[in-house]
Amino acid sequence: MSSIFSDFFRVTAHGLGRTLLLTLLLVTTQAFLFGQTYDLVLKNGRVIDPANSLDQVMDVAIKDGRIAKVDKAIESGAALKYIDVRGLIVTPGLIDIHTHVFVGGKPDKFADGTFSVSADDFCPRSGVTTVVDAGTSGWKNFEVFKYNVIDRSKTRILAFLNIAGKGMSGDPDQQKIEEMNTEAAVAMAQKYPEWIVGFKIGHYEGSEWSPFDRTIDAGNRTNKPVLVECHLPQYPLAMQLQKMRKGDIITHSFEEITEREPVIDGNGNLRPYVVDANKKGVLFDVGHGGYGFWFSEAIPALREGLEPNTLGTDLHRFSINAGMKSMTNLMSKYLAMGMSLNKVLEKATVNAARAIKRPELGSLSPGNPADIAVFSLYTGDFGFTDAGGNRLKGKQKLETELTIRDGSIIWDLNGRNAKPFLN
């Protein structure tokens, strides 16, 4: 299109005045675009948008990077481009609420280091358009994270700010209570409200409660949630859950390790204080990771009525090749555990958006950023493993066909957006 106009410009420029030419161009452009209301329409997909209680075959139209319309039939002529996604599932772009993506050059460290991974390496191919970093940075190094990683990423990266000043630096400082500065953490969150969605406490080995209390205090002062990771060996789980507020998030919910009481007791029942916390509105995140997910916890929990609210992967160097693998693998694992597709999608979209108080994400409501994932659900004999290296069989698996971020296609598995090659 642009070349047609530039040719036109060159040819006509000799004969016409500048103003006349510009007017002509404007008129032509508008006339040309008038018939094409949308940039892209995804046609005939099964739209599952739990936020809007939608599950039916519909078309989704995108304009200027935003959702323009979701309707039963949008004329394909109304779009510059359309893709037929018949037989596929169209959902809001997934939100992975627990990741470690503050990647950098520091060997064997999470903060600015090699133990973190790049979101773009794993997210587009898994249908994930937004990740939330789980406190890899703190108030002292969030700006390094933002400049080096967040601003360069195609994946939308949000963050829980660690109460520890340098986040998961792995330095002795990480344990120093003086570094856990509520004022400074709150100030950083207020400086970057678009990116910092809450605060995190984790990896504190002392028995003092002030780090925990300061994190909650930061949450209170900004009206933001707190993410509680484990590796808090001296804090009893009951006490953690008691201190947590409605809307605070506990992750690694189904971990079975010695340093934190598991949610299931020796008789296969949920511990009473876990039931109470669930009732109070504490949100349970999976936080799968390399070691944070055990069938021996997750399956009885599901049976006893404790569903995870969100499906955080805990993406990092040591989970990528383990039982976790990817967001879609974790979601398929929950399908294999008997959860419905709609529920799985709800947890991976709107639930995560609500937990971080970002209502413009995780739904296909018109006006929202056009973050969309298109999946195929294929059937066969599959298996899923946990941290103990044990296997659960399943019959269905989600595969990411297309991922769209702010209206741009950032993943296209089978070239659905490509023209046929004519030899």
Partner: protein, 416 residues
Amino acid sequence: MKNIILFILLFSFNALLAQEYDLLLKGGHLIDPKNQLDTKMDVAVTSGKVAAVAASISPQKAKQVVDVTGLYVVPGLIDMHVHAFQGNTPDAYIADGFTSLPPDGFTFRAGVTTVVDAGSSGWQNFRQFKKQTIDKSQTRVLALINIVGKGMVSRYEEQNTDDMNPVMTAHMIKRLFPETIVGIKASHYWGDFTAVDRAVEAGNLAGVPVMVDFGEHQPPLSIESLFMEHLRPGDIYTHTFSYGPAFRETVVDESLKVKPFVFAAQKRGIVFDVGHGGGAFSWRQALPALQQGFRPNVISTDLHADSMNGGMKDMCNVLSKFMAMGMSLQEVITCSTVNPAATIRRPDLGHLSIGAEADITVLNLRKGDFGYTDVRRTLHKGAQKLETEITIRAGKVVWDLNGLSAPGWETELKKK
């Protein structure tokens, strides 16, 4: 009673003795091109090495048995062209930069156990690359070092002929790291044949092959001259199917005919590498070439941040793409195991001979409607796609897509 206990003890001892293998892959179809095997065979592993390959190995002889019936068992794939020197030097793109990728997230899930970094580092920063990436990766990372001492810092630094030192490059290889550095890379040079000639000079001094990316000359330099006069048999031409005639002479001409000297060059021993990348693979080169009988010697990805989410995706996708163009499974496995191993002169890799390090890949060949795209985002369809079920590196399972090597989850509850 005593006798019974003794009997049980003796029996268990015998049972232990009998379990001579750590791991047995049972019931798979083995494709091991170097050993000319393409048939149903069991493969056993002990102490990280291939211990036995036979039509039937008794499950009683192994501590762990994995049923791979219906799947293909092949040597661990070798991706001969990647960029893995990841770091965060400001303004650097591939050498210690963000465009390079840490390999482990892309290799095992795509069946790759060995990668060759294609010139991201040079003699001046190879040791940094080794320390921060090679020594920290589970994937076996080998390297071609750049003839430019600082490697791929930026296109600008890559033009510095004062930093193309054949003697220092050869010393780095021969004296310091003969196990890890397998060759030399010349690329991105805008001038004459200087970069190539210095790389070949270093190659002669160190006794290693040279890989050339010849894509940035304006106007393009003659690839016939490159193949026939400047490179030696055994040297590698990468980005073979790239189409950008303003910068790189193409192997297929505008009337879609393979240039005759290209066949002659392959016959002479020039190794043609795919190096798919973000911009270096076009159907209009590859399809006519394959139809006319010109096939790549080596299939590789040119993995980096700008290729990972485009038409390339991963090694299995690139292999599947060549199958969609008519190559057989056996041929693409040849081009990703024994051929790259021979090219980088590592006869220890790319096969499953007894005693070889147990780098093994188990593949599932899916049937369906699949699509593959080139850098112009045009589509070519295929009915098959390779998927990596299991990857084993030095005898250890490092990727297991469907938990085929795992026990049922209920065993966890029994332990309580």
